[in-house]
Symmetry: C3
Subunit: 262 residues, 3 copies
Amino acid sequence: MISYVRSKCPLVHSITNYVTVNDVANAILAIGASPIMSDEIKDVEDIVSISNALNINIGTLNERTVESMVKAGRKANELGIPVILDPVGAGASSFRNETVDRLLKEVKFTVIRSNLSEMCYIDSGLKGTKGVDSNLDENDISPEVVAKRVSEALGVVSAITGKVDVVAYKGKVAKIRSGVSEMKRITGTGCMLSGIIASFVASIDDPFLATANALASMGAAGCLAYERVKELGTGSLRVAIIDELSKMSDDTIKERGEIEIC
Amino acid sequence: MISYVRSKCPLVHSITNYVTVNDVANAILAIGASPIMSDEIKDVEDIVSISNALNINIGTLNERTVESMVKAGRKANELGIPVILDPVGAGASSFRNETVDRLLKEVKFTVIRSNLSEMCYIDSGLKGTKGVDSNLDENDISPEVVAKRVSEALGVVSAITGKVDVVAYKGKVAKIRSGVSEMKRITGTGCMLSGIIASFVASIDDPFLATANALASMGAAGCLAYERVKELGTGSLRVAIIDELSKMSDDTIKERGEIEIC
Amino acid sequence: MISYVRSKCPLVHSITNYVTVNDVANAILAIGASPIMSDEIKDVEDIVSISNALNINIGTLNERTVESMVKAGRKANELGIPVILDPVGAGASSFRNETVDRLLKEVKFTVIRSNLSEMCYIDSGLKGTKGVDSNLDENDISPEVVAKRVSEALGVVSAITGKVDVVAYKGKVAKIRSGVSEMKRITGTGCMLSGIIASFVASIDDPFLATANALASMGAAGCLAYERVKELGTGSLRVAIIDELSKMSDDTIKERGEIEIC
């Protein structure tokens, strides 16, 4: 599937946080797509109009950029361009919650990708996000059940990343078991993944398969990177993940991505 | 002491500049704490409320974020959460000076960490910062004297980094001689250090020892990184510093940190 | 020529995008200059006043920062400090076009550096930028002709980067053939280059030779980096480019920079 991304080279417009934006751009480039970032309200409609996907990430949202997210999202909907939501920190603050609620009301998303805690906020208003990491016990709540419920309620592909990643859409579920827990020791793997999903969804007709393959690419890249540099430390791990994404092939996804479709 | 950070895994809220924010997040993760970034005035009180420390860095301040810094700082004070100030470029512009003056008036800080020039601005209104680097001759001005004076006047732990780092608090002084001058050839070592101090102070009761150990961790990481990659260049040095932070242990701090407490 | 940069160590004020700002700062440091970033309208005049060059990059412009760009540019003109423009995405949106038009009207630039598509917007109002990458066929339009026309019309050094880089000024043309196409697979090489040009122009009297040597430094760094890490991937390539810049010498520029002056 990554071969479709590499041959189409879609332009992916990201309105994303300034913490990991460079990694998002480099991850999008690494898999063969082309990144563009713009969060100015006077600019976003023009940029969306030349793009093949829109990736909205609320990690460092502010009042100005939230308006740009809404405007860009509506324009993307009007043009039939897929829109991805990464609701970073949903559940952690009122402003993040209100923003997620507003985005879900005003924009039709193709994919929502988050950790379990953030998806639980979307699912049921459950509070309890600790920062941007999930602090819910995955033993207590089934990611599969939550992903399915959100997918059905909103008509989106719902992807929850964690020990095992789960993707749900129209009765189908994919589980991705690649990836290593050390990926949590660097910032931005989730944000990069959302940019990668946007690139895949812009290149492949089936958003469920596109999302599952995007997750498997990231998981495989994480495994390969960790095998190569684990003795060095987390700075090298970050660099190596981009390295492995830049060499990722459909064969590697098949061998190392560990996708199971149920 | 880093073992306390790794076992507590404190959540550190940073309002910091967009130049080095990714390195700050990765440094905080590397030493075992958890980063969260938010600078929206409607968001910061909620985020501070779930955090264990607040790290304020004025590197790319603007009118909007200064209000968020003040609001977050006051909330942290109200909740008894330690607050760290990195007054980047104090002395270099009126707006930076006014912001530092206002922050010092409205927020009670636990630690102030800066270079000598910036601390001199706080100490005495001495002007003369060149950019974000110290251009004062450390032979003319004693960092120890300045650090002590600021510490006593404001009741804070005062940490000045330079050839030898100095930490002053309640009559005690620590000198840290680890670190290498090549660390100045990459951006962000100071900003990372302030994030690391916030993580230590959130995990250890004594803010003086916490700060001294944070500086020793960074110094030891710089030394080890430089020994490993000095032939390669400064891009690799940046990556290697994060690597070494991710492997840092109390034994390494003891062996390589070169802390002297007077 | 890089020896001039290393001995003068100019302070370079950048108002640049948040996607690649860290790479810009590290590239400026690597070649021996000193970076400072500030985009707050109340701050920029003071910061320009202590700087040796101003680097304006509109990659993630917004209404607030555009005002700061204009104010900083006018102050730099008043003080006789060189100003560099990187018109990222010119041609891709009305707001970017209006901003470029306004900057060109209100600020006198020393150097404009862009890809062919962006320079074509400046040249003739040709539309057609695809994101931030050139999608014009260099076979159809001669970068040399465009660079010369912009240089003559605006009295600036005009530098267009592409397969072969072209620099035009006062009837002279330089072509730089170093660099590798893989540099396009990482974000920020253009932005870093603009920061490097600012550093060279701040250190060397002749802005044409300064710009040509800046381009040759970046090209040589790209070649050397690619030779060293091509098996690893694009994450390592990004790190290695900064490495090679930090070791760059006039001898290496002569041997590997491939400058031809016509």
